[in-house]
Each structure stands twice: as structure tokens, then as C-alpha cells.
Symmetry: C2
Subunit: 231 residues, 2 copies
């Protein structure tokens, strides 16, 4: 046994939930599958990881191949491996999410055969998905909903310059509840992670709002907070 070590190969996939915020709506990327099983169904962008490929790189490659989007940092959130989840055998999948700004990135072109098209779909209108992807989506959505309350991940979804109202709308969509304007602003500004710009919104038919930027420097300095029991 010990003189003849076995060699193992894993067969597994990654699936990605890519969140985007567009025209006041929270959306995710879906692909229409062009391959059995579940040919013609909508699914999360995902595919098999190559034998000699890091999982994160695979996630990036697969997202690129199925949607045309490149260089997007994703975060792993759970691995799904229920026995019946793939009709062709035991295939576990490592699930990732990312939140991206849509500015300019709207041209989605799969550069692969396994996806027929990629589309943005409002999280409120997600159809039944292939495999256990509906479940994966629910779990991922829950994850970011939780995370947004204590980590500044919302900024990744907004254009570089944004108004406080846009930021608040985003929070409201993700948390699925109305927030108080004055309290929201007070609190958000108190974190001191935003940089107020000398610029205003353009092209609106009402009073233009100030624009802000997320300030990574300030964030790094000010976000060492701890939860509960600080002493």
C-alpha cells in the first residue's frame, strides 16, 4: 500500500452568484444552459474545475467563459454536495458570490458552448433553476443580506461615484425594508468611510445630489470594530 500510493482526482464544480444593482433593482447573472442535463434551463454560471486549476481561478475562468465578465473577485460561501444534486453522479459544487458594478459591463457574451446566453435577472423574478441552484441562490442571498449589516460590501455594487440616496436604496433592496433617511445618513457618515466629492449628480430633472466615493483608506483605518463584549 505504502509503496504504491494511490493517485486521486477530484471531479467537482464551482457555481457563482454575481450580484449587480441596476436601475434600482438588485439582479443576479443567470445563464441559459446549452448542454445536458438541464439543457434550456436557467442556472447559475458554473462548470467543472480543471485538475490543475485553483478553485478561485476556476471560478474566474468559468464566469468569464459563461458570461464574458473578467477579473471579478469572488468569495466562497458554501459547498453543496447532496447526493442527488447532479443526475450524472456525485458532483459537489463550491459556491461563490461576488458583487459588481454594472457600469459598462452590460455586454454579456458567453465564450463557450455550455452557455447559450447570459442575462441579468431581478432577484425577485428568479425562475426555478437547474440542479439545486435555487437553493444555492437562496443561501447566497441570505449570506449577503447578513453581511451587508456589518461589512461595507454594498459599495461594490454601486458606480464609483454615487449619492447617499442611491446607497440607501441599495440597502433597502437588499434588506427588503424601508430605512429612515436622516438616520441612515447620520450613521453612514459616522463610519467615516465615505469621501464627499465636489461634484453633483447630472442629468436629473430635480435638485442634483452630492456625489460620494467609498474611501478604502479611511475604511481600513476605521473598520477595526469588534462586536459585543469589547471589554
Amino acid at each position: 500500500m505504502e509503496n504504491l500510493p494511490a493517485h486521486f482526482d477530484s471531479v467537482f464544480t464551482v457555481d457563482c452568484i454575481i450580484f449587480g444593482f441596476d436601475e434600482g433593482e438588485l439582479k443576479i447573472l443567470l445563464i441559459e444552459r446549452n448542454e445536458e442535463p438541464f439543457k434550456g434551463w436557467f442556472a447559475l454560471p458554473g462548470y467543472f474545475v480543471e485538475k490543475t486549476e485553483a478553485i478561485e481561478s476556476a471560478a474566474q475562468r468559468i464566469l468569464y467563459e459563461s458570461t464574458g465578465l473578467r477579473g471579478i473577485y469572488m468569495e466562497q460561501f458554501y459547498t453543496f454536495g447532496a447526493l442527488g444534486r447532479h443526475p450524472q453522479g456525485r458532483v459537489i459544487t463550491v459556491a461563490y458570490y461576488a458583487m459588481i458594478r454594472l457600469t459598462g459591463q452590460k455586454d454579456l457574451k458567453p465564450v463557450t458552448d455550455f452557455a447559450k446566453q447570459a442575462v441579468w435577472v431581478n432577484v425577485k423574478d428568479i425562475p426555478e433553476l437547474a440542479f439545486d441552484h435555487s437553493r444555492i441562490f437562496r443561501k447566497g442571498f441570505e449570506k449577503i443580506r447578513n453581511k451587508i449589516s456589518y461589512q461595507p460590501i454594498a459599495f461594490e455594487l454601486l458606480p464609483e461615484k454615487f449619492t447617499l440616496t442611491q446607497l440607501q436604496n441599495l440597502y433597502e433592496v437588499i434588506l427588503n425594508k424601508k430605512l429612515d433617511k436622516r438616520n441612515f445618513r447620520k450613521k453612514m457618515l459616522s463610519y467615516d468611510i465615505l469621501k464627499e466629492l465636489d461634484e453633483k449628480q447630472k442629468g436629473v430633472s430635480y435638485r442634483a445630489a452630492k456625489l460620494y466615493k467609498f474611501d478604502k483608506r479611511k475604511f481600513a483605518k476605521n473598520f477595526h470594530k469588534e462586536l459585543s463584549f469589547t471589554k
Copy 2:
């Protein structure tokens, strides 16, 4: 292609971080490996998942086989799949953690060949572990350290009946900082998830403390709290 669907099998492992609290020390379970690679090294309890086995069940089985502990609920926290992590090929591992009470469970007997012995080791004295298990441990420890601040997971580590001082000690060990006695008690009791018993500590050579129980009923009722932005 579509007429001859491929059949896939995954080869992957689970690894478990089992936390226990004993004599004021936070410990985890390690096994001494009895099999190449890393024979003789300490490692997290873990092994290959069978083709027709749910991952959670596998985690339970493997924990039982390598330590003799049964029926322990574990929570998945991350999947590790770096390319070089297993010397015999691509093997990803799904990592779980659990927190258990040690009362009575101290007889550890591997019922398998791959583990020579299982031991409790203080988290402050963990040696270098096999594979990437040191990294897995660090990530898992970080996870529970975070989680303990907003979820009542500490109780799982204590005997059914415990004193507030024991509870505080546990928080202090996990958070690695001193807490204020009065504030700790006030806060903990304010959650209203503990049941005060009519019993006192026994066998101590000083004033005996009141015993408490974690009250699941109350917990379910009182722990619907939300973080930040509640309106």
C-alpha cells in the same frame, strides 16, 4: 455526447474541528495519523467521503471512526482546495466544526486503522499539522471567535448546568480578552436565554455559585434580533 452521458465520481474529504472546554481550557481534537502521507503527524480528524454518502453523514462517521465520538452535529465552514494541499493528487476537503460538552466523553478510541490515537489539545499548543490542517484550524477558530459574539454557541461547550463565571471564562478564552464581571452578567441575563436553577455548584472550597441552564425555548423566542439598520 448526449446519448452517452458521462458518469462522475468525486474524490474529496471532510475534516473536522471539534472544540471542547475542559478545566478552563479551550481544546480541539487531534488524531495521530497512522497512514501515509503524514504518518505519525497530528491532524484534524478527517477522511475520504464515500461515493454514496451525504457529506454531513460522512463527517459524523469519520469523526466516530477516528475518535469514537458519536452523533455530533457539525457545521460546515469552508472548503479548501489549494492545488498542492494533498501530495497524492487533487483532493479538496470540506471543513466542519462542532462545539461539544466533554462531560463523560473523555474516552477517545479510534475504531479505524487510519488514526493511531485521538487526543484533546489546548488551542494554544497546537503543533504543526498534516496537510494544510494548520490553516484549516486557524480559519475555523476565527470563525467561532466571530460567531460567539452574536450567536449563543458557547453553551454547547459547557455542561448542561453551569455557573456564570464558567460561562464568562469560556468567552474570555475564546475571545482572548478579559471581560467585566458585572457587565458580562447584566448583558448575558438581559438576553433572557438562561434559566436560573434552584441548585448550587458543589464540591468547591469556597462560596458555591448558582447554576444556570441554557433555555432553548427562551432562546427561540428572544433571538430574532437584527443587526444595524433596524429601521
